[in-house]
């Protein structure tokens, strides 16, 4: 038997006031007492990738009488709250630097916090004692308005939410009480919490854009259904990161938006026939416009971030990195402005609308053809095909070590990895070790490609500065040193690639992808907790 839930939510109406509900509960044998009323303004916070939302928890900075409170609502169990001290100006807020509730600190692991939405509400708290002695808290909330995290007007809300939480005793009592309130008193069950209601009113997604259970791909899904689910998942990610990208809050917003755009394009290429080939191709082409703009800024971000580490290897000559960074930052400004202009444009709005329309389009009733295959039937066919292409390219590119051939291998590898990730939920855990191995290989290819591109960029920049007469001779020599660092990185990655490729180019890998039920070719090791997967 599953563990019963310790939190339940219902909607109450104007006619079912807290006093009436509590009176009805007293008649039913519950002990009920009111604890107090307050007006509140809660500002919800979460990390860029929605670490709290992922585990169903909420963190709010709540402005109530007599002062500001940190309020942490875990997915189950009692609410943790204590007075909040003065906060530093601006975002993000470092979780480690603030004395956050212990539950929030554990879930966030020092991740920076960003605002998600604000909520204007009236709260009435009550406590109920069940016939078996268990204690439950009842929070009656009248949600009056929801505000976006940064700019924009508050949206009026007219929702009334009742949240039951177990304080002490048997968890099953939450279920008994919610059934009584639903079936005997007539309150409607509510699936979402107050932040979910606020986000719905604001037309926003949950932080991090994690896929809800209904969007998870199952082995029995037809390709047509699976394609729509994958599109919806990636669209959620894009929407969850769009505002952070627009406001340039943190490079990770842009990174995640770019990854989701790439995955979306990859899904449209792979599963296009199951979505309508012409429509999918047209959308993929249009997404290329967005991907290009995101790529411009992201490549500069990666280059700048890499420079710091590489400059340290040059010792005193590393001073040139500062100069270079200023130049790169100056180039980032117009690239970001172009991206921000695009994200505010009607073209972007239409693009998102078209993607959503395709993701929500009805699944055709076809009894034959690729769209009618189930995900578990189609997976071996699709994965074997992508693997074959990778192997053909890899056998030529890895020994030669030529940059264009390795870049092509990287692209084919990425397609194989994305296809494996799309199908993985339908195939259980068997593909996971293989996907982790793909990530390692792809990381190595990515670092090689970054080094090649960085060397070219530095060279082009040096020529440009020299042409302007803006590059003293000692700086020119330092730049040469930096190019040498890139070449050394490239060489080291090429050497590493040979070893990784030998592990990948094996009959066992082919067997696993062609028939994913076969024995896993890699040892199943748990991925380190809290670690972000490598390259996108």
């Amino acid at each position: 038997m599953d563990a019963p839930e310790t939190v339940a939510r219902l909607r109450w109406s104007e006619g079912q006031t807290p006093a009436r509900v509590l009176q009805a509960l007293r008649r039913a044998g519950y002990g009920a007492r009111t604890l107090g009323r307050s007006r509140a303004r809660d500002l919800f916070l979460d990390s860029q990738d929605g670490l709290l939302a992922k585990v169903g928890a909420r963190l709010a900075l709540s402005l109530r009488e007599p002062g500001a409170l940190w309020r942490f609502e875990p997915a189950g169990g009692p609410v943790e709250e204590f007075p909040a001290g003065p906060l530093p100006e601006g975002w993000p807020l470092r979780a480690g630097a603030e004395s956050l509730p212990a539950g929030a600190q554990a879930a966030l692991a020092d991740a920076p916090l960003f605002p998600v939405a604000s909520l204007n509400l009236a709260v009435q708290e009550a406590e109920v004692t069940a016939p078996d002695g268990s204690r439950l808290s009842l929070t009656f909330e009248t949600l009056r308005g929801a505000g976006p995290p940064h700019t924009g007007p508050e949206v009026a809300l007219a929702a009334r939410l009742l949240t039951l939480r177990l304080v002490q005793g048997e968890a099953a009592e939450v279920g008994h009480l919610s059934v009584y309130l639903r079936d005997h008193i007539g309150l409607a069950t509510e699936m979402g919490d107050r932040l979910a209601l606020a986000l719905a009113a604001l037309g926003r997604t949950e932080p991090g854009g994690h896929a809800p259970p209904e969007l998870r791909v199952a082995g029995s899904d037809t390709l047509a259904t699976m394609a729509r689910k994958v599109l919806s998942q990636q669209l959620l990610k894009i929407r969850a990161n769009a505002e952070g990208t627009l406001l340039d809050l943190d490079p990770e917003f842009l990174h995640d938006m770019r990854v989701a755009t790439r995955r979306l394009r990859s899904a449209l290429r792979l599963l296009g026939p199951a979505l309508g080939a012409r429509r999918a191709e047209s959308l993929r082409t249009e997404l290329g416009w967005l991907a290009g703009l995101l790529g411009e800024v992201r490549d500069l971000d990666v280059f700048i971030a890499g420079l710091h580490g590489q400059a340290a290897r040059l010792g005193e000559a590393g001073r040139i990195a500062e100069r270079l960074e200023r130049e790169l930052q100056a180039r980032r400004v117009p690239a970001l402005e172009a991206l921000q202009g695009a994200l505010r444009s009607r073209r972007y709005e239409v693009l998102i609308r078209r993607t959503a329309a395709l993701a929500l389009s009805p699944v055709p009733r076809r009894r034959a053809g690729p769209a009618a295959m189930t995900a578990s039937e189609a997976a071996p066919l699709y994965l074997a095909k992508a693997h074959k292409r990778v192997v053909r390219q890899g056998r030529a590119a890895v020994p030669s070590g030529e940059a264009p051939a390795l870049h092509r291998l990287r692209i084919l590898f990425k397609r194989l990895r994305y296809a494996s990730e799309f199908f993985a939920p339908a195939l259980g855990a068997r593909l996971e070790p293989l996907i982790r191995a793909m990530v390692r290989f792809q990381d190595c290819l990515g670092e090689h490609q970054d080094a090649v591109v960085a060397a070219q960029r530095i060279e082009a920049l040096a020529r440009e500065l020299a042409a302007r007469g803006d590059l003293p001779v000692d700086s020119m020599l330092d730049l040469g040193g930096l190019i040498q660092v890139q070449r050394e990185i490239g060489l080291a990655r090429r050497d590493k690639l040979a070893g990784l490729w030998a592990k990948f180019d094996r009959p066992a890998v082919k067997r696993c992808l062609a028939a994913p039920c076969a024995e896993a070719p890699f040892e199943l090791k748990p991925s380190p907790a809290g670690r972000r997967t490598g390259s996108p």
Partner: protein, 240 residues
């Protein structure tokens, strides 16, 4: 005096709530239950508590007997949980609290009462026991063979989930049908409303009521009640 006779609630709380409301609206001054309060549905605790709280008199059904036997014997309970046919009873036995089990264990096998128009006998299955059935095809000799003593003026039963009101010999036989698990293809619950007026012949009619079956289906799935097909409640059938 109007009395509502409920039977075979089968741990279906939304149906019981709707039945009690319907009975109150129809003018019932008292509610009596003819057994099988739990088993099958996801709300055994909620159902027992509501009946306890509302002071509803009830008789013991065959499911209560099985559930109480399983509660008393951990070995049997473990074995029953592994068998598809008995898994639902085992789940109910594990779910019920101590207080609810005590209340069920104290239920009588029959209730004999006179509401002013002759003796009324309330049992779950038939006078022979909780496992015997009374169907609409019941004959006067069939009823006589089941009765141990003189025939009551009114006999109220459940168990078969097939509602009917028939006069057999001199006895008005009322089968309440089922509040929580109808099986006649009509997913609405049923109960009987009897009118006992001194000096007049007792009469009864079957009332049917709709309830929010989606809440029940949701809870059956969420609480993972074994051995029960939620579709049965939606369609008003019972597949064996």
């Amino acid at each position: 005096m109007k009395v509502a006779f409920l039977s075979d609630i089968h741990a279906n709380f939304p149906a019981l709530s709707a039945a009690l409301q319907c009975a109150a609206e129809a003018g019932a001054e008292e509610v009596v239950c003819a057994g099988d309060l739990v088993g099958g549905g996801p709300h055994p605790t909620e159902v027992v508590r509501l009946l306890m709280r509302q002071g509803v008199r009830s008789v013991l059904g065959n499911v209560e007997r099985k559930v109480l036997a399983l509660s008393a014997d951990p070995k049997k309970l473990k074995k029953a949980a592994e068998k598809k046919k008995r898994a639902s009873s085992a789940w109910t036995a594990r779910t019920l609290g101590e207080e609810e089990r005590r209340w069920l264990a104290a239920l009588p096998r029959e209730i004999r009462h006179d509401w002013g128009a002759g003796e009324v006998l309330v049992i779950h299955g038939s006078p022979l026991g909780e496992d015997d059935y009374l169907y609409p095809s019941l004959t006067a000799p069939g009823l006589a063979a089941r009765l141990k003593g003189p025939a009551p003026a009114v006999l109220v039963c459940g168990h078969s989930h097939i509602p009917f009101v028939r006069t057999v010999g001199s006895t008005l036989v009322i089968n309440c049908g089922s509040v929580g698990w109808p099986v006649d293809g009509d997913p609405r619950g049923s109960f009987a409303l009897a009118d006992f007026t001194p000096g007049r012949r007792s009469s009864a009619r079957i009332l049917r009521f709709a309830y929010a079956v989606e809440g029940l289906v949701h809870d059956l799935e969420r609480r993972r009640v074994p051995g029960v097909d939620p579709g049965d409640f939606v369609l008003g059938v019972k597949k064996h």
